[in-house]
Amino acid sequence: MWQALYEELGDHGFVPITIAFDESPDAARPYIEKAEPEHPSLIDTEHVVAHRYGMINVPTVVWIDEEGNIARPNTMEYGSDLFIQFTGRESGPFLEAVRAWVETGEIRRDETVPDEMPPPTEEEELARAEWALAWFLHQRGRAEAAARHFDRAGELSPDDWTIRRGSMPIRGKNPMGPEFFELFKDWESRGKRSYANMANERRS
């Protein structure tokens, strides 16, 4: 998908960069090999980009302009309508908005797009320090100790799926299994927090 967009718009000074929040290159490999990308297709096992950009779920898309400024902050967007029955978000208007941005510089927004990046809370920042600690312990084969800190990170930032769902494969749990449905219910019960309503919460 992103490769097709690159082929279409690459000559207009546009490049997609995909980033996989997977626990190993091998976990992301089948997806990348199938896509045959000529644009950068990167692996972020430690969730460095999630931490730096305050991302809490996938897929998260950020528009970055020629000067390295964020033109449109974190939004959940889809490159196709494959999962539309779950996501309810169409890819068409988003892809049209990207084309318009590349060709004319126009930045289209809708009610789901926050004006600016909601800054992370102290709890979220601490959650990310806990995540880094958990990841380090996991790599050292200290699974039990790692679990303590993955849990702590999830408690500090309960709506962060990159932590709570993203740690499931690392911990040998099924990210589509019962633990995921538990997470989903928990997230739903707190009001389905997303980038758009996070931005609203913090403005008020």
Binding site: D44, V49, Y53, I70, E122
Partner: protein, 142 residues
């Protein structure tokens, strides 16, 4: 005091510090030998305070931050305005991002730089795409 290896994680890297931990104090203060900690993290202690290059943070109001027994890691994190996660049993501590500057950078709309590998292990930095419009797409198999 026995010397044990303690690990400090920050900015995606880890520093092994051969340090002494005072566990006999009866409180929960985690102290690491000052010099190795400051050296690993690129800080120096000057009369003005704790300094990184020319910029210094005064520590005069915190006499317990650095004592002959060592530096209080948690207090140091507070002074620097950075979150810290500690596992004493595993002798590991992880410093988070400098909260204020991380927030103000994002608030100003500056896209944080990063360097990550592709499948072949080749590294790519966001900053090398200046002059182009970049669509960052984060996804996962989970």
């Amino acid at each position: 005091m026995p010397s044990i290896p303690f690990t400090i994680i920050e900015n995606g890297g880890s520093h092994e510090i051969d340090a002494t931990i005072d566990r006999k104090r009866g409180d929960s203060v985690l102290r690491l030998a000052t010099e190795p900690v400051l050296e690993a993290l690129g800080w120096t202690q000057k009369p003005e305070g704790l300094c990184q290059g020319e910029s210094c943070i005064p520590i005069g109001s915190r006499p317990n931050l650095i004592t002959p027994q060592g530096v209080d890691l948690v207090a140091r994190a507070e002074v620097l305005g950075r979150p810290i996660a500690v596992d004493q049993e595993e002798s590991v501590a992880s410093f988070g991002a400098e909260t204020a500057s991380h927030r103000s950078g994002l608030a100003k709309g500056i896209a944080p730089d990063f360097t990550l590998p592709d499948l072949s292990g080749k590294e790519h930095s966001l900053s090398s795409f200046k002059g182009k419009k970049v669509l960052l797409i984060a996804y996962a198999s989970w």
